[in-house]
Symmetry: C2
């Protein structure tokens, strides 16, 4: 691809050409050779968006809430990107939930771009890819990007690092082990949404969160608001938007936003570095070399650490 | 450390000396320089254990179930290791749930070794570290290692790659989005446990799982059994052990176990390779170099991809 063609591609992304955007995101996800060069051009065109992470256990109603949040931001005339991060299937390597036919209320809206993504199997690297997808959306003029992830694993903590605000969605009836749950996730939540607020037990969840927030205040002085929502009807969604905006305003006021931007940028550089170094050696190793080392280790002729040391020695630049 | 001291350390691990084991696991987790050399010696002494992954959403009762499973394996006179993987706190960098005072019924049993672990913050690398911790436990004679993880993120899929069998724990009352939940996790489950089986809705969960397993059979021909458990009383736990043993027997019979061992070994080598390459460059970069690049990118004097290319060029061996 010539540099003129790349420029043209970047310009079409900036003009919100959906095909150009889709091709750009695919190029990023598949690690195509043009991706890095294109991203450099897109980065120049990108205005930093508010990236809102929406996370929580399966079944709490995240997708519906994200759909309604997007509609709310659209009412504010903002371009909105939605990235749904799905766990990768260990068998197929693809996103488990696939390109779900969902968020149909938004499908006809030209100002909303929705994309499912998964990690790239053996090549890994959800975090750098997600950052790059956000850059594509920013270059296409999205002022808000909603990132939906499942659960509270390391992945989600990484994706939370990429967000300027993280919404943790809870719902009544998640079991009695909520103490453990809260310990594991409260630190990533800037705003809590108690969804399905019309259900029995919503008040109890609110009370428990309030108690926890009083007992363990955050070191940065922000007290995460708890917003009751009913995603299916849209109730509470504009209050949720306001709570997110308040957090952003707090961040501006206190320097927290600046600090987060630094952390986020640092995390992006390091995860990209990790990915680049690995891909370099991985490409050199193709042709059955990994499988040969697997045999050595399985037959106990070598151990994993010795095998990897040999692979590193065989890598480029050595 | 001399090679005689290393040999002595490895011998003491093999003799189940708890202090030597604790030090070995810490050395692995902290990436200490002796770790790789020690692991080579331990690998020689390690008999491959059955590694059983136990995963599921927060609140379903995983910890209690793991405790009861461990007691069951102890009744079979097996050495048992328990590894609890906690999400890393984005603030403190440590395991969020910490060294929980739990599984107290096992604390006095010399044949059980319990350890919490988290990822190593910026250095990342849960998967290679978890593999290495399993090697330490195998060298110490554990015939079964139970690995408890939270959720269904990429982390858990990685840890599932390390398991010879994965148990997915569900509980009644997880909300109505169970179709989505199942799509995201069914593929990693070799055995389903419906815990809190005395609660309202346990029968419905069982029915839904049965229906799903009938509609979407696994490509490898294994039909994951669904076992009802009440972890708090221990009911159903021996049936769960039997179901896991049946899966292992199926794997032996069909070659699935062999295939999984290959995948697992390949995954271990690649994640270790990724880690090694990164650490090599990261060490060279210390002294504020990363922060200087962060400033360049934040001030828009550079973009992330150009910055990382420069870091790679500055790395060792170039």
């Amino acid at each position: 691809m010539t540099s003129g063609e790349l420029q043209d591609w970047a310009d079409r992304v900036a003009a919100r050409d959906r095909r150009a955007m889709g091709r750009a995101i695919s190029a990023v996800e598949n690690g195509e050779v043009e991706a890095a060069a294109l991203l450099k051009l897109l980065f120049e065109r990108a205005l930093e968006a508010d990236v809102v992470g929406v996370t929580g256990s399966p079944g709490v109603g995240k997708s519906t809430l994200v759909e309604k949040l997007a509609a709310e931001y659209r009412r504010q005339r903002q371009g909105v990107g939605i990235v749904a991060v799905d766990p990768t299937s260990p068998f197929s390597g693809g996103a488990m939930l696939g390109d779900r036919i969902r968020m149909q209320s938004l499908a006809a809206d030209d100002g909303v771009y929705i994309r499912s993504m998964a990690t790239r199997g053996e090549l890994g690297g959800l975090a750098p890819t997600a950052h790059d997808v956000v850059t594509v959306l920013e270059a296409a003029g999205c002022r808000t990007v909603l990132i939906e992830t499942v659960g509270v694993g390391q992945d989600e903590v990484q994706v939370a690092h990429l967000a300027s605000a993280t919404v943790l969605v809870l719902a009544p009836g998640m079991g009695d082990d909520i103490q453990t749950f809260k310990a594991g996730v409260m630190e990533i939540a800037d705003v809590f949404a108690v969804n399905k607020a019309d259900r029995l037990g919503a008040g109890k969840v609110q009370q428990e969160l309030d108690a926890m927030l009083t007992i363990s205040p955050r070191p940065d002085g922000w007290r995460p608001p708890v917003v009751q929502t009913i995603a299916t009807t849209g109730e509470g969604v504009s209050a949720l938007c306001e709570a997110i905006a308040e957090f952003h305003a707090f961040g501006e006021r206190t320097g927290l936003k600046r600090q987060r931007r630094r952390q986020k940028c640092r995390g992006r550089l390091l995860s990209l570095l990790r990915q680049r170094l690995f891909e370099q050696v991985y490409r050199e190793l193709r042709d059955g070399a990994v499988d040969r080392w697997v045999d050595e280790v399985l037959d106990r002729r070598s151990d994993p650490h010795s095998a990897v040391e040999a692979m590193v020695r065989a890598g480029p630049g050595q």
